[in-house]
């Protein structure tokens, strides 16, 4: 196989990974089990790392490759482990009974968000030179919107939080392509930052569970301008 055909294969693979990344994000919208949501998040994180590895190979950039490897240890393994350690196990076996919007409606809205993301990314792509940016930037933007949507319709604490983490994954998914020369120290700081986020979320979820007796954080409405505590 010649060098150029290997490059073509890498491009195909990158496009495939991008599509699967978006699918995994959709998976987080439709699943009702907390456990399932976590699995989709892990899948999404693995695909994020795969994209970074492919990009590292394609651009011969060892540090994008290295960040991909580090993130492959961090997101799919350490983050779920830390989450399970800090949040009570029983929360993970839960099914969400009430949802703000039902699943077909959610899918429809998520699809619209993807269309909007592609529309918004178009003017930016005129500036782009590499094919990777045209794959990763719209998908990253779409993932950001769909993740935000997931976080805002979820009532259960852990899926809501996973929606937020998916947003960050999506930002990084676009980021690896548009800013491959980012200093490695910065990327490591961003990765390290996620661990503190998970830790703090875990502690807080646990406290909410113990004190208020529910992790349906979407139903907490004590603090309003009208009501008097």
């Amino acid at each position: 196989m010649t060098g150029s055909s290997a490059m073509v294969w890498l491009d195909y693979l990158a496009a495939l990974v991008g599509g699967l990344f978006l699918l995994a994000t959709f998976g987080m919208v439709v699943t009702r089990q907390v456990q399932g949501c976590l699995r989709y998040f892990i899948l999404q994180s693995v695909l994020l790392c795969a994209s970074a590895l492919l990009l590292g190979l394609r651009l011969h950039s060892w540090h994008v490759f290295a960040v991909g490897v580090i993130d492959l240890i961090n997101k799919p393994f350490i983050v779920p482990w830390l989450l399970r350690r800090t949040v009570r196990e029983e929360i993970f076996s839960r099914r969400e009974v009430t949802q703000v919007l039902n699943i077909p409606t959610s899918l429809l809205i998520a699809s619209l968000l993807v269309l909007i993301a592609y529309g918004l990314a178009r003017p930016l792509l005129h500036v782009a030179d590499g094919s990777y940016i045209s794959i990763n930037l719209p998908i990253g933007l779409a993932g950001l919107f769909v993740g935000a949507y997931t976080a805002s319709v979820r009532r259960e604490a852990v899926p809501l939080f996973l929606g937020l983490l998916a947003m960050e994954n999506a930002a990084l998914f676009a980021g690896f392509a548009i800013a491959p020369k980012l200093p490695m120290l910065v990327e490591l700081a961003v990765i390290f930052d996620v661990l503190i986020v998970v830790f703090v979320f875990g502690i807080l979820t646990r406290a909410v569970h113990e004190h208020i007796g529910t992790t349906e954080v979407g139903t907490l409405t004590l603090l309003k301008e009208e009501s008097k505590p």
Binding site: L164, A174, L182, V186, V190, V197, V200, L222
Partner: protein
């Protein structure tokens, strides 16, 4: 070197607080010593910057320009007064609360992150630092461990993290624009120098994403919903830091982006976003029930004022921005300390339940009155002068409608806050039974006294070094 000393002190004190968390007095004492030491050390680099020098820790990573020095100084001042106030405030909570032992650990870490933001000259390092300020303050917001506090903390962290992800993409696009514009060492200075060569479409996208993402942290309407909750539920010394400087540090990073964009475009955005925040907050101020929420809405209002000032775009406007940042941070932290003193005296946050405070606790009553007058911009206090400088700059630049609306909203806010404060301080208690006088902890009174000094002094006398620093800061914001 000095900059690393400033960063190392709170980290060291955090370690000591964690190691001796069972000791009743030690964590509070070392935190106080640390915060005062930070202030003492921070004065020197700030004065060097005011004299026209640059203080560099690591070139293009950690450095202090005029604007950074001003924000750093404000953070250090507010941190020190909040540390003094914490002593008496925490004395009441010792050991009874879930996170009681780790209060000072989190306080020091929070202070560390806040001090890092103005020093970060690498934009994404600034993002990391802002993210850390949010993460280290979550458990401080949840500190009281009541239903309301936990709910506020949950809303807070959710909004913070959502904003962080959006802002992250914005910063990455900024880096993309920077690489296309020539590249080099990614820092505010280099970006500033290459501003005309940056791709406008990328800069616009980056700016909008960052304004939305960091705007959540600043509390612009309609992204402000978490702010009154978090800023009212946290312990008062933490509120003073949250409202006084945490919002400001995030705002400072947005303001650094302004000179990188085409002037006509970004100025109209700033004016509109700012006016919406000021207007909404002014009307919400009329109908609050909780006096800590009242000051929190006033923060939303002031963030809007600073944005309007930044939208004026002239040198005078930039001076107004810097002046308003200085006076608002110092005054608002004083207001929250006063609110904390009121809470210590009457043990309720309800405005309606507090009447005749001047008799119950003269110190808390007088402080609240001064705070209310100061934050609404009554002459001759500091905020009056800074708001006046913004009006003058705005009228000189010909923004008559914007300044007219701003004046209207500020008047509404003035009436709203002073109506509530006046009733609380001088109102007639419902039953005229004899109300016992409440004594405040000495450290709280001391903290109020210290925090009141700049509020009273800056309105009538602006020391020359501070004036020089403000001019240097305004220059750093200019195109």
């Amino acid at each position: 070197m000095t900059l690393f000393v400033i960063l190392a002190i709170p980290l060291l004190m955090a370690a000591v607080s964690a190691a001796f968390s069972r000791n009743r007095y030690l964590p509070g004492a070392v935190t106080l010593i640390g915060a005062v030491a930070v202030l003492g050390v921070a004065v020197r680099p700030a004065m060097q910057v005011a004299a026209g020098m640059r203080v560099v820790g690591i070139a293009n990573w950690v450095a202090l320009d005029g604007f950074g020095a001003l924000v750093l100084l404000v953070v250090a001042i507010v941190g020190a007064t909040a540390a003094v106030f914490s002593l008496g405030y925490m004395g009441k909570h010792d050991g009874t609360v879930r996170w009681g032992r780790s209060y000072y650990l989190h306080f020091n870490l929070f202070l560390f992150a806040l001090l890092l933001v103005p020093m970060a000259s690498e934009p994404i390092l600034a993002w990391v630092a802002i993210e850390l300020t949010a993460l280290f303050s979550v458990l401080l917001v949840a500190f009281e461990n009541t239903h309301a506090a936990l709910e506020a903390a949950w809303k807070y962290i959710t909004m913070m993290f959502m904003g962080a992800a959006i802002a992250l993409l914005g910063f990455l696009i900024l880096f993309w624009a920077f690489e296309l514009g020539g590249g080099g060492a990614f820092s505010w200075d280099v970006l500033h120098a290459m501003a005309p060569h940056l791709s406008p479409v990328l800069m616009k996208s980056a700016f909008l994403l960052i304004v939305v993402g960091l705007g959540v942290k600043v509390g612009f309407v309609p992204l402000h919903t978490w702010l009154p909750d978090a800023h009212s539920q946290a312990p008062s010394p933490v509120c003073a830091v949250l409202s006084g400087v945490k919002t400001t540090t995030a705002l400072a990073v947005i303001l650094r982006l302004v000179p990188l964009l085409p002037a006509h475009l970004v100025q109209s955005w700033l004016l509109v976003i700012g006016l919406i925040s000021v207007g909404t907050a002014a009307f919400l101020l009329l109908q609050v029930h909780d006096y800590k929420r009242m000051f929190a809405f006033s923060t939303v209002e002031h963030m809007g004022i600073i944005f309007v000032a930044a939208g004026i775009g002239t040198a005078g406007g930039n001076f107004g921005v810097v002046f308003q940042i200085l006076t608002h941070s110092l005054t608002k932290s004083f207001c929250f300390l006063a609110a904390g003193a009121v809470l210590l005296a009457v043990d309720t946050r309800e405005i309606a339940a507090v009447r005749g405070l001047i008799r119950t606790s003269p110190v808390a009553g007088a402080a609240l009155m001064l705070g209310g007058l100061a934050i609404t911009g009554a002459p001759p206090l500091a905020v009056f002068l800074s708001e006046f400088s913004i009006f003058r700059a705005g009228l000189n630049a010909g923004h008559y409608v914007v300044m007219g609306l701003l004046a209207l909203f500020l008047t509404i806010a003035f009436i709203g806050i002073l109506l509530h404060v006046n009733r609380m301080v001088f109102g007639q208690p419902p039953d005229d039974s004899h109300i016992p006088k409440v004594a405040l902890p000495t450290s709280s009174v001391l903290a109020l006294g210290l925090a009141a000094v700049p509020v009273l002094v800056l309105g009538v006398y602006l020391p020359e070094p501070i004036h020089q620093l403000m001019l240097a800061a305004a220059t750093a914001l200019a195109r």
